[in-house]
């Protein structure tokens, strides 16, 4: 079954009077449970593609179907609701809310559900446990290291149990050791929790953890590297 189906998508931005083609008739299929790394130089359209898959941007033309939903058919309100249930977004700079504790940050997406406060807290704690930070629930982002912040951000991304996780350079702001921990965690989410992951990265070491590497050049998919098994932790490509 296909988790992400991008069909002949074009994305054109207008800058002053100029049309800038970022994605040019791109198609991409990601089967359910797959871990895909999107690579390519700056300006190749990786983040734009990720944004389309996450439903935070819309294509100029073409179709994006994620977790069985054609995102083009949804209104803004429906799309917001869909995002809250079906996709988890992991940012490069974590983007935790500074005034909230780790637990409250993780709980945030659950505010949009009908869960009781107690249920929300339990689920948020479970998500923190998955990322190994159950004991840091009361800590504020400023009291955490970069790696820990990103783990909290991952807990926030998975707390609503979405089918698809999208990550935009999740290790881009981390030291090597923390990056390793985050990649291990993402591999675990993929292998044990069966999450489909689409990750944008510049880092070949990070990309080697994915089942498939797709390369973008000027808005089109250029090359693909497939592996049956992702490279285990600590083994350089």
């Amino acid at each position: 079954m296909t988790a992400v189906d991008v069909q002949n998508v074009r994305k054109i931005y207008k800058r002053d009077s100029q049309d800038i083609v970022v994605l040019d008739g791109l198609s991409l299929q990601v089967p359910q449970g797959e871990f895909v790394a999107l690579m390519g130089p700056s300006g190749s359209g990786k983040t734009t593609l990720l944004n389309l898959i996450a439903g935070i941007d819309r294509p100029t033309s073409g179709k994006v179907v994620v977790a069985g939903t054609d995102l083009g058919t949804l209104s803004e309100g429906q799309l917001a609701k869909w995002r809250s249930r079906s996709v988890g977004f992991i940012f490069q700079f974590y983007n935790l809310i500074p005034v909230l504790t780790a637990l409250e940050n993780v709980e945030l997406p659950l505010l949009l559900t009908r869960l009781s406060r107690k249920e929300r807290r339990e689920r948020a704690l479970t998500a923190l446990r998955v990322v190994g930070l159950a004991d840091r629930g009361k800590h504020y982002p400023r009291q955490l290291s970069g790696g820990q912040e990103q783990r909290v951000a991952i807990a926030r991304a998975i707390v609503a149990d979405p089918a698809v996780l999208v990550a935009d350079e999740p290790t881009g702001d981390l030291d090597a050791r923390s990056a390793e921990e985050i990649l291990n965690l993402m591999q675990t989410l993929n292998s044990e929790f069966k999450k489909t992951i689409v990750m944008v990265t510049h880092d070949p070491r990070a990309a080697s953890r994915a089942h498939v590497e797709r390369h973008l050049e000027k808005g089109v998919l250029a090359a693909s590297v497939e592996r049956h098994e992702a490279v285990p932790a600590g083994v350089a490509p």
């Binding site: 803004e76 917001a80 005034v99």
Partner: protein, 391 residues
Amino acid sequence: MKYLPYIVKHLRKTWLRTLSTVLAMALCIFLISALQTLLQAFYGGLDTASTERLVTRNRVSLVFPLPVAYESRLAALPGVKRVAKSNWFQGVRGSDGDMRDFFPNFAVEAEPYLAMYPEFGLTEDEKQRFFQDMRGCIIGPDLAEKYGWKVGSTIQLESTIPPYRIGRPFEFIVSAVYRVDEQKYPNHSKQLMLFHWKYLHEATQQNAAVGTYVVQIANPDQAAAVAKTIDRAFENSDAETKTETEGQFVKGFIEMIGDLALILNSIGLAVAFTILAVSANTMGMSIRERRREIAVLKTLGFSSALVLALVLGEALVIGLVGGGLGIGLASLVLANAADMPGLNGFGISLNLMPSMMAAMLGLSGLIGLVAGMAPAVSAYRSSITTMLRQV
């Protein structure tokens, strides 16, 4: 309600900015509450002014008196039921004329006056005691409480109006403390003192003429016609009259200061607009600083409408907390303001009524919402990718 902790945490994060905005709002609501209460106190008498009482004064000015002889002529006019003399005495305690201790006091023709003013709650015995003592006076309950006066107490007052100055203070004996039925007469002053006009007249060697005549009419529907009849009766005399309903007279008296309503409302409006601008700027600053956070919320699935509601919620909390503080401050200050120099002469009660409190709380919420509207709409409209790119 589940979003309230989120809102409060944001406000606490920038506590200095929040506090200054809340205080600005509190000051705004305090000022508007105080001004409106003052206005209500001054003009409140108009609502309860009797429609069957007219006031006749000198056409030129309230400063000039009317002849004593007018009373019998007034009483004989058609439609007139009762007439009573009334003079503003402006007496103060002590001989130095210190107005800080002032309260309103009138020399009145006691029997007809009290007959047409049921607002002064007195038993028949109390009235008789007052009528029979030439130096007697009746005082309001607030005066009794403030100065510890009771029936039999002696009061010495010296007028600041030249014809009423006799080289020594007037001495009065308290005959009774009147009561006010607050249900029927909510705006009636509890700080008045009434004494006998005859006492004033005789003590001044008959120099004191009549300040105003209060005229009770038989049919309130005929007020305008009777007023015209009275004024026509004294046309081309040395002291022409101007007769108006009690409400019109009170309004005219207040407006001797100027158009109080216009002045006070203009001040209130200016203050409200300034605070609105300050709050809007603060809210705008707060939202601009949090564009990335708003983008994150929207990415997590918060709808644009919910983000708008959260921003407005913050503005509303600031408005309501500031408003609450302002109302509290106004209640505290107004409770003691009626005795302040400059206000004590009007005999008004400055109490912040529950309806005023509710209106002020509503106004503070409204100012908060309007101030938050522009940043909220900006947060509502902004696209996630634009906000993430900008920061």
